[in-house]
Symmetry: C2
Subunit: 246 residues, 2 copies
């Protein structure tokens, strides 16, 4: 059981840790992470969501929840709670100011948020990872044991060429890939119902090359750009959640 | 004249160096960089394009030009040439393999590509920067003198909150902001002409807060996802180019 290897105070009572990752920026990692967290909470699970993007935290914006106070008890951060989901982000610790810093300091901050956040009892902890294959990704995979990673991509060749690099990294650090979410896969005009494939056609690149299952194809919908503080489940999200229940 | 301060062999004959930047990933930095390079070349300028995204190089995919051979002469890289534009990217040096590495090594590679690429005589060098405010951005701004930065964003609040951090970083390292390109600003259905605002309405956030001029509002168009090896100019791109001629 993976849990026995995460003996740090922060994670010892967390049953499953799932990363939501993509080496490509702007494909929807944060949006999909928030969707999964809300969906699992709607299904009755105890859920946490950790935003590890030190350079561009999204969590406060995603939940329209900017004034969260993060308290410390026995040197541990107590995550914010919102609609029954525990939330932690550098956005709560740094506000508006940019993180203008180099690798060693970055790794120190990541290690701290991973080992000094007291999540208590959780069924699922989702970790929203930033793009790239550098300090943050390496520190996460070397500090804690992940159960697996959900890969997010669009159909665009500019996305796929980066996403492949992220998959190769996970293979190297031996983190299992649980599946891929194809986000912004198409757009349906609500006035004439035409289906537009802005980022390209479905090419099955990742399943052909790596044998990775496509867990969901999420269309471009302006409802998915709205904050998650008033989350409403739907069939697509519920099925995506069901595909990841362990 | 900035040029006198870039005395390194690689940049001493480059008249203008313009970064295309955004702290948010996936907003169109690489697409806008390639658009600017092609547009300036179409106007008869000598142009170079440098892709500094070590973790996710886009240049080979953007130009559909994967097998470029990079030669060295006197320990200097000779950029690839394509349709009269000089191109340099880690994608040409590393192929498909991911850059799984930490800050100090990252900075070393960036410094090398900046100081050991022999651009020869150029009127404009565009530098496509990766997202974030970390090692790569700091090394670029500390190694060479940039004339200015073009900021790319979408209208989404998730983008704007990161882009603000990038602008604050440029202010701190004293690099002038030349303007902002609002990319994927709207989508017009080609079947019924309805205008969709997927990422939000125009809110003028950046000009209100920082007094930065909007240089262009580029719609979501599938033609803009096609490779640049058959570039065709258009009025919008030409006007954007004209706004940046120095
Ligand atoms: N399915 C979707 N439909 C419409 N917009 C989306 C969708 N998924 C994400 N977005 C928008 O795309 C942008 C990038 O998403 P984000 O979650 O920030 O990606 P990442 O975390 O990979 O950088 C945001 O503006 C977000 O609101
Ligand atoms: N105006 C546009 N219309 C349609 N797609 C676009 C547009 N600009 C960029 N894209 C697509 O959006 C994605 C992100 O663009 P990219 O240039 O890779 O952004 P970045 O360099 O900021 O990561 C790519 O799939 C690209 O093809
Ligand atoms: Zn329509």
């Amino acid at each position: 059981d993976r849990r026995s290897s995460n003996t740090t105070e922060s994670l010892k009572n967390v049953k499953n840790i799932i990363a939501v990752a993509s080496a490509k920026g702007g494909v929807g990692k944060s949006t999909v992470s928030a969707t999964l967290a809300c969906e699992f909470a709607a299904k009755g699970y105890k859920v946490g969501l950790l935003d590890t993007d030190l350079f561009g935290p999204s969590l406060p914006t995603l939940f329209n929840h900017f004034d969260a106070k993060i308290y410390q008890k026995n040197n541990m951060f107590i995550p914010a709670e919102f609609n029954g989901i525990k939330l932690m982000s550098f956005g709560y610790l740094m506000g508006d100011s940019p993180a203008i810093m180099r690798g060693p300091m970055v790794s120190g901050y990541i290690q701290q948020i991973l080992t000094a956040t007291d999540w208590g009892e959780l069924d699922y902890l989702f970790i929203d990872m930033p793009p790239g294959t550098g300090d943050i990704q390496l520190t996460i995979s070397q500090t804690i044991k992940l159960d697996g990673a959900v890969i997010v991509t669009t159909r665009s060749s500019l996305s796929l060429v980066d996403v492949v690099k992220g998959i190769l990294m996970f293979e190297k650090v031996e983190i299992p890939i649980l599946g891929v979410v194809e986000n912004m896969s198409h757009f349906i005009c609500d006035s004439c119902n035409k289906e537009h494939h802005i980022f390209g056609e479905d090419r099955g690149d990742l399943s052909n090359r790596f044998g990775i299952e496509t867990l969901a194809q999420i269309p471009i919908e302006s409802t998915r750009t709205k904050p998650f503080n008033n989350y409403k489940s739907n069939e697509l999200n519920s099925n995506l959640g069901d595909a990841l229940i362990r």
